[in-house]
């Protein structure tokens, strides 16, 4: 599996994503600068967490307008896999690759802690190595992770099996406890929790590994 990590200014989880991909795939991902207009030939593009462009407008809003996002959209249109984590999820909703929006946490504070997620859907490239209904522990670290979409969209996401992860114990007020969703073609996943932070037992657990294994198996 060949992968790329997009480097937005101040998207500070780019190194974490790189290290996790290296560890899981045995291959270093390409690090792609936000001003590049082309992607290398890869199977997976990761939009990492962080504070792209300082999150000075809405989170992810400026990154969604960056040059590289045209290439990411083209990659997704061709069916290429895209994983957006935390700020990356915000970039995906801001650029229209995923529906809905991520608002300020209901508690109005940044929240960093391990949360329990229930894996809701496993028939997709990102979660096939989990069991349906499995509970996993993955950290969140965000101030704006409160997922919002209108009722019709939420019904459609649920009806089409596009809600992949749900919170058990909602940390941010997200509609219907949604933690991660797919696009309609099921090749773009956005999630607020950080699977790349749980691939190493020394630093908090290994519950994120199955997500990377799923992608490796799908794409190899």
């Amino acid at each position: 599996m060949k992968s790329a990590v997009i480097v937005f200014p101040a998207a500070n989880c780019d190194r974490d994503a790189k290290v996790a991909l290296e560890q899981m795939t045995g291959q270093a991902p390409a690090m792609v600068w936000h001003q590049d207009s082309e992607l290398p030939d890869v199977d997976l593009v990761v939009l990492p967490g962080g504070f792209s462009y300082g999150d000075y407008l809405r989170c992810g809003a400026m990154a969604s307008q960056s040059r590289v996002m045209q290439a990411v959209k083209a990659h997704a249109d061709k069916g290429g896999m895209v994983l957006g984590i935390c700020n990356g999820f915000q970039v995906l909703t801001e650029s229209g690759l995923l529906p809905g929006a991520l608002m300020r946490n209901a508690g109005l504070k940044f929240v960093c802690k391990p949360v329990t997620l229930s894996v809701e859907e496993t028939q997709n490239a990102f979660a096939r190595h989990y069991e349906k209904g499995q509970e996993i522990t993955v950290p969140v670290a965000h101030g704006e992770g409160n997922y919002y979409a209108d009722e019709e969209t939420l019904n459609r996401l649920e009806g089409e099996g596009r809600v992949v992860f749900r919170y058990k114990g909602n940390p941010n007020g997200s509609a219907r406890d949604i933690a991660g969703i797919l696009n309609d073609k099921r090749n773009v996943l956005g999630m607020m929790p950080h699977p790349e932070r749980v691939v190493d037992p020394v630093t908090g657990g290994t519950d994120g590994r199955a997500l990377f294994h799923s992608l490796i198996e799908t794409l190899s």
């Binding site: 101040a10 974490d16 300082g54 504070k109 940044f110 960093c112 790349e196 932070r197 190493d200």
Partner: protein
């Protein structure tokens, strides 16, 4: 040219004798710009004029110390060619006036001190002191400071991994915000601030210069009064996004060999960075202010020299490398400008609009800065009444103490900090010390911040020594070898002899403990004049300690891990109730003498406990500090969600035994056979040791009779902070 009047001299915080010294050094009347430069360079904040003579007494050397005090941060060798670079610094005055920006820029400033030396910051810590919980400003200040620390650190992508928080009425009008940054570099690629050589380009990098923070260093060197809020314009505004770009750009430039010297523009901005770099390099510096990137129109030379705009650096490059450096900064969309040149004149010359606005000998700003041997007046360490009501229930007191403002869980705070970004956090906040892995290796750094201000008030010497001892224990308790400390000395007005004595005795106590523990001081910061309307804070010499775990898999945490482990206390419990949390929270008195520190005993017990952890024989350990033995056991039970049954046969006085704050103690837990061996070995080494009981169940059972559920203790411990911050509960005065 503006004439200098006595009022202007006074407004610049300079005394008459200091102004006379300026006249003598210059041989003429200074210009306004020069007066401003002297005022900040000779301020307490920059010159350490009250403490310098005493700080010299601190031990600063060890074979593993690569750089002691005097640079932007201290550096230690952690093996394999790696170096840890760290420092702690205060941002007290700005944080009281504007808590969010004050705390945020405190974080930003200390990070720059570390990355200007070539290190990537890997962990942030803090030491915070607020007024009593019932004071009307306290919640506002807690909320603002915590958001400010989180807002800056989270955006930087550097984990904030721990710290400490106290509440006390002496901080009602003067909170303390001390931030510590730890970074990693290669030992052979560390950058210093000595601008050696003449004819080298002086370059300005980072944000543009604005009018914010003018005279911040002078503000930080004066007492507060009721009009202090009017000083809000002197508080700087932080931009963590720009700082993140500056970090990456600087590290990219540092990977080349284009830099001769580099220093961040912190307090006193362009003035102190240029003067200090010239001073250390034995050179002169000539600046052309017309070339300084400016955020606002029509800035005067005075404003530019004294601006404390954030996210700026000054560097001296090798000649001919400007274009290469500029390309890096342009890529990161940062300002870059050659604003001057080094000279061989040993003078700081500043030009603006084709006029020389300052021309002064650099040594006048450094070596010639005033040093005061301020008079001090010792007072007897506090004695007093440590009597207590013997009929009080031990377990009811335990529950009350676990929910006291100084003792309750700080989860409400640390969950607002990204403490796992960078993916190397091994121990998150809430333990004895944070543990952060050295990226790509199996070793790790243990980091802690400590001081017990109420001890330092009762006995400034013991308080200084105890801060070091507790730091040493906290690092030991996770399995780390303590290597070095940075100190952040927060005190009141040094011109009062009784305060000056607190400072002198505190430094002596720190020095004695550091010397005995082989735990040198490699940097630090003094924050004096922490007074409002003439009332000083509790003396608060915060110690930031760093230690090394050679193998991160050989580590201990506080949480009980198994049922049936034997709970053992290492170190003697005499039942010292003076200045204890028990006396304050249960008897309502801040009374009695501070506990005495015996550094030799600290070392002996520390080496023993660390050895057990390093040999993988113990994975559960907690130092005994605030609240005493029973509080330590309760925290271990809450952490693991496992109860314990403990007791000591024939205890004459249970209250001092369970709640006394004797030093040099640890609680460990180990399986039965291992525990037997440990007790035997401790006895053979003449170390005081006792088995207290066994882990198991879901209750804390005392002396086989009374008990309390771990769930109830946890609810009390976890509940106070969120209730307090929600405003639903008006807290008791401490």
């Amino acid at each position: 040219m503006t004439a200098i009047t006595p009022e202007m001299v006074k407004d610049h915080g300079l005394s008459e004798s200091e102004y006379q010294k300026i006249l003598d050094l210059m041989g003429r009347t200074p210009t306004l710009v020069e007066l401003g430069v002297f005022s900040v360079m000779w301020s307490e904040h920059c010159s350490y004029k009250s403490t310098r003579a005493h700080l010299k007494k601190l031990p600063t050397k060890a074979p593993w110390v690569l750089q002691g005090p005097g640079e932007n941060a201290g550096v230690i060798d952690i093996g394999d060619g790696d170096a840890a670079i760290f420092k702690m610094e205060s941002h007290n005055h700005p944080s009281f006036i504007e808590p969010y920006q004050g705390a945020a820029t405190g974080v930003g400033g200390i990070m720059r001190d570390v990355f200007t030396m070539g290190a990537r910051p890997i962990a942030m810590m803090n030491a915070l002191r607020f007024g009593e919980p019932s004071h009307p400003k306290t919640r506002h200040l807690v909320s603002g400071v915590v958001s400010g620390i989180g807002g800056y650190g989270n955006c930087m992508g550097v984990p904030t991994v721990g710290g400490e928080v106290n509440f006390h009425k002496s901080y009602n009008g003067n909170i303390l915000v001390n931030a510590m940054c730890v970074g990693l570099a290669k030992a052979d690629n560390i950058f210093y601030s000595a601008a050696k050589g003449a004819g080298n380009p002086v370059v300005y990098i980072g944000s543009k210069t604005g009018r914010d923070g003018i005279h911040g260093a002078t503000m930080a060197s004066a007492e507060f009064d009721d009009a202090s809020e009017e000083k809000r314009p002197t508080v700087q505004v932080g931009d963590p996004f720009t700082e993140k770009l500056l970090l990456e750009a600087c590290l990219e430039l540092m990977a080349t060999d284009a830099i001769i010297a580099i220093q961040d523009m912190g307090a006193a901005g362009l003035t102190s960075s240029s003067a200090e770099m010239g001073d250390k390099g034995g050179s002169g510096i000539e600046l052309d202010l017309d070339k300084v990137p400016q955020r606002e129109a029509n800035m005067t030379a005075y404003e530019m020299m004294l601006s404390e705009s954030q996210e700026r650096m000054l560097a001296v490059l090798k000649p001919g490398r400007e274009a290469e450096a500029e390309a890096i900064f342009k890529k990161w969309e940062l300002d870059f400008a050659v604003i001057g040149v080094t000279t061989d004149t040993r003078r700081l010359v500043v030009k603006h609009k084709a006029e020389v606005v300052a021309d002064m000998p650099i040594t006048a700003l450094s070596d010639e800065a005033p040093v005061y041997e301020r008079p001090y007046q010792p007072r007897e360490p506090k004695g007093g009444d440590v009597s207590f009501d013997k009929s009080k229930s031990v377990l009811a007191s335990l529950k009350a103490i676990l929910a006291a403002p100084d003792m309750a869980s700080r989860r409400w705070i640390w969950e607002q900090y990204d403490n796992s970004v960078m993916n190397d956090t091994v121990q998150h906040p809430g333990g004895d010390a944070a543990v952060v892995r050295v990226h790509g290796s199996s070793k790790a750094l243990a980091i802690t911040t400590d001081v017990t201000p109420r001890y330092a008030k009762a006995d400034p010497y013991q308080g200084g020594a105890q801060a070091v001892a507790e730091s040493y224990r906290n690092i030991t308790a996770v399995g780390g070898t303590p290597l070095a400390v940075t100190d952040n000395l927060n005190y009141g007005n040094p011109q009062k002899p009784e305060i000056m004595w607190e400072i002198v005795a505190g430094i002596d106590g720190i020095g004695a403990a550091c010397r005995a523990l082989d735990y040198p001081v490699i940097g630090g910061n003094c924050s004096l004049y922490n007074e409002t309307n003439g009332e000083g804070i509790l003396p608060t010499p915060a110690i930031g300690g760093v230690g090394l775990l050679k193998d991160v898999t050989k580590m201990a945490t506080v949480a009980f891990k198994r049922q049936g482990d034997v709970v053992i206390v290492i170190g003697e419990t005499k039942g010292h109730l003076g200045q204890s949390i028990y006396l304050r929270e249960i008897e309502g008195r801040e009374d009695g003498p501070a506990p005495r520190v015996d550094p030799a005993l600290e070392k002996k017990h520390g080496d023993f406990v660390r050895g057990l952890i390093e040999q993988s024989r113990v994975d559960t350990c907690h130092d005994v500090s605030d609240g005493g033995l029973l509080v330590a056991v309760a925290e271990m039970a809450i952490g693991g969600g496992i109860g314990a049954s403990i007791g000591v046969a024939g205890l004459p006085e249970p209250i001092p035994f369970w709640f006394g704050e004797d030093q040099a103690r640890y609680v460990i837990a180990a399986p039965f056979e291992e525990a037997d061996r440990i007790i035997e070995e401790a006895r053979a080494a003449y170390i005081s040791v006792a088995a207290l009981g066994k882990t198991g169940g879901d209750r804390l059972v005392l002396e086989d009779s009374n008990s309390v559920s771990i769930a109830a203790l946890k609810a009390a411990h976890e509940g106070w902070f969120p209730n307090f911050m929600s405003g639903e509960e008006i807290p008791m005065t401490n």
